[in-house]
């Protein structure tokens, strides 16, 4: 039971809004030390348990360094941005009259979810796609419809751009049979003597994928109306923004 104190530390740190890095390290140490508590344990043994836990943490940290490979995209993206990639993305969308923020994101949702379902999860992502292309395009579409877009609405469009990437990825990738989560499920059930085929798991991810698409797509369609309403309210009467908001 005592090992649950580690989870309590995570929750308490979260509620108290302490920096998560500190909270996680503290939670790991608390968990490791609590696991070593048995009747008659000495302080020296608890100190040793703390060191062992830190070593186990360091080993796992070292083994998950692959999470940093994605930052190699930053110099390329930065170089293209200083050469005007965001501006080009905005100009491109600004020239399409039918483009709205909701429609741009709806197209991206279809592409993101469909390619993720084919296992092509690296075709999207926040540093490589959302920041340089998707968010500026959605923003430009909102701007051309509502000139003088307020910062509040601009940030809301950006938030929706990131959200759309996540929803498309999460509820697309599980349809692909060789994705990490499917392999995790197969391996885990196998330990308990339950044998399932990756294909079965992929097929039963489809109903949720459809519902996720319907819910988020509907929200994107409504998003344009909400933007129109809020832009109309925010802009002073008689300006272009107010007219566009009717």
């Amino acid at each position: 039971m005592l090992v649950l104190l580690g989870i309590a530390v995570v929750i308490a740190g979260f509620v108290a809004r302490i920096n998560p890095l500190l909270v996680i390290l503290a939670a790991a140490l608390v968990t490791g030390v609590c696991a070593a508590i048995v009747p008659g344990v000495t302080p020296a043994q608890l100190g040793q348990a703390a060191l062992d836990t830190l070593a186990a943490f360091g080993k796992a940290f070292n083994e998950s360094r692959y999470l940093h490979v994605v930052w190699l995209v930053l110099p390329v993206i930065g170089l293209l941005e200083r050469s005007g990639m965001q501006e080009k993305a905005k100009a491109l969308i600004g020239s399409i009259k039918a483009a709205t923020a909701g429609r741009v994101l709806l197209v991206y949702l279809v592409v993101r979810q469909a390619t993720a379902a084919l296992g092509l999860t690296s075709l999207g992502g926040h540093p490589q796609m959302v920041r340089p292309l998707v968010a500026p395009m959605a923003e430009a579409a909102a701007e051309s419809r509502f000139p003088g877009l307020s910062d509040r609405l601009r940030f809301r469009v950006r938030g929706y751009a990131a959200a759309t990437d996540n929803v498309g990825l999460f509820f697309g990738e599980d349809i692909f049979i060789a994705i990490g989560s499917i392999l995790l499920i197969v391996g885990f059930l196998d330990q308990y003597g339950v044998s399932v085929e990756p294909l079965q798991l992929a097929i039963w991810a489809i109903p949720t994928a459809i519902v996720a698409f319907v819910i988020h797509a509907a929200r994107l369609v409504l998003f344009d109306r909400r933007l129109a309403r809020d832009a109309g309210i925010e802009a002073p009467a008689g300006t272009g923004a107010a007219e566009a908001g009717q």
Binding site: L4, G6, I7, F14, R17, N19, P20, L21, L22, I24, L25, G32, L54, A55, F57, A60, F61, N62, R65, Y66, H68, L72, V73, L74, P75, V76, G78, L79, L80, R82, S83, G84, M85, Q86, E87, K88, A91, L92, S122, V130, R131, A135, F155, R158, G159, A162, A163, D165, N166, V167, L184, V194, L201, W204, A205, P207, T208, A212, H216, R219
Partner: protein, 320 residues
């Protein structure tokens, strides 16, 4: 052959460059913190395999203290003016997208070639293939873009540093949570949680069991920031013993939808830093440090009805 270790050297050198450029950045009042933070990460990437587990743990403690107490500054190296960018965009047109699209192209193409051709198998190692191919794509794209755009020598590193600084300590969070998960496994936290949940909730019928399993997946994912950490715990505690064994649910359907219920939790938690905090930082949202930032607020109205839908789908599909 390109292995993960070679990619780690390249990423390590990139962080070493961020560290040195931070040290030389007189504009950043916290420049020594940035120097130390990115420098330690460079040491971990370059030499982590040669260090003892405890020494790697020591690096973690130092990173956590620097990043967690006081945090990092954001470098603002000189860059192009908005007018220059618009002019460059007009002149260069849609070609500007090509290097960016080269990255996923090489990542996906490299993975497929490794799987299906002898040449691909000779060039790229068969472990963590997509990660290696992604790294390769970034390097190829950078070389192509630099050869075409001919920027000042340090410009790609400086622009990269500015973006990395804006992500800041959140870059470390996914790796920290993965390591916490490893400590939880050693301490058998999952089994204890499982026993507790089974004791507290009366599993009177399939609907209750399905609801407890899906909500448990979402809640534990919110705490751990990762559905992969919640899945073994909740499935061993509720999914297998109750939904599958006691009430006869189909294990493939229960496990597949259970994992997706966890993903609904991922959409709602700031602990899932790479999905919810990193983009808020990259998009410069003003509320990026709030527990419910603009990205998470945009996701909750999708996540909650989808969680209910997952409960309904599991209930109606798994017991036919």
């Amino acid at each position: 052959m390109i292995t993960l270790d070679i990619v780690y050297i390249v990423v390590g050198l990139l962080f070493a460059a961020f560290s040195i450029l931070s040290a030389l950045d007189g504009q950043n009042a916290k420049r020594l913190r940035n120097t130390a933070f990115w420098g330690l990460l460079a040491v971990s990437l370059l030499f982590g395999s040669y260090l003892s587990d405890l020494a790697n743990g020591g690096i973690v403690v130092a990173l956590v203290l620097i990043g967690g107490l006081g945090g990092l500054g954001v470098g603002r190296p000189a860059t192009t003016a908005p007018e220059e960018r618009r002019e460059s965009a007009r002149r260069r047109g849609a070609w500007l997208f090509v290097p960016a699209l080269l990255i996923p192209l090489v990542a996906v193409g490299g993975t497929l070639l490794q799987d299906h051709t002898a040449l691909g198998a000779a060039v790229i190692a068969d472990k963590q293939t997509t990660v290696i191919a992604l790294g390769l794509g970034c390097v190829i794209a950078l070389i192509a873009a630099a050869a075409w755009l001919r920027p000042p020598l340090l410009a790609p590193l400086q622009e990269g540093r500015k973006l990395m600084d804006s992500i800041g300590w959140a870059a470390l969070l996914p790796q920290m949570l993965a390591s916490l998960g490893a400590v939880f496994v050693v301490a058998k936290v999952g089994e204890v949680v499982g026993g507790l949940v089974a004791d507290v909730i009366p599993m009177n019928g399939p609907l209750l069991a399905v609801t407890a399993y899906c909500l448990g997946m979402a809640l534990f994912t919110i705490v751990m920031g990762n559905a992969f950490a919640a899945f073994p715990v909740m499935t061993a505690a509720i999914g297998l013993p109750f939904v599958v064994q006691k009430f006869g649910g189909d294990p493939a359907i229960v496990a597949a939808i259970g994992m997706l219920a966890g993903f609904c939790g991922t959409l709602m938690t700031p602990m899932a830093a790479n999905f919810n905090v990193v983009p808020a930082n990259l998009l410069e949202l003003p509320d990026r440090n709030a527990p419910l930032n603009g990205v998470i607020r945009a996701q909750i109205p999708t996540a909650l009805p989808l969680l209910v839908a997952n409960i309904a789908l599991m209930y109606f599909l798994a017991f036919r």
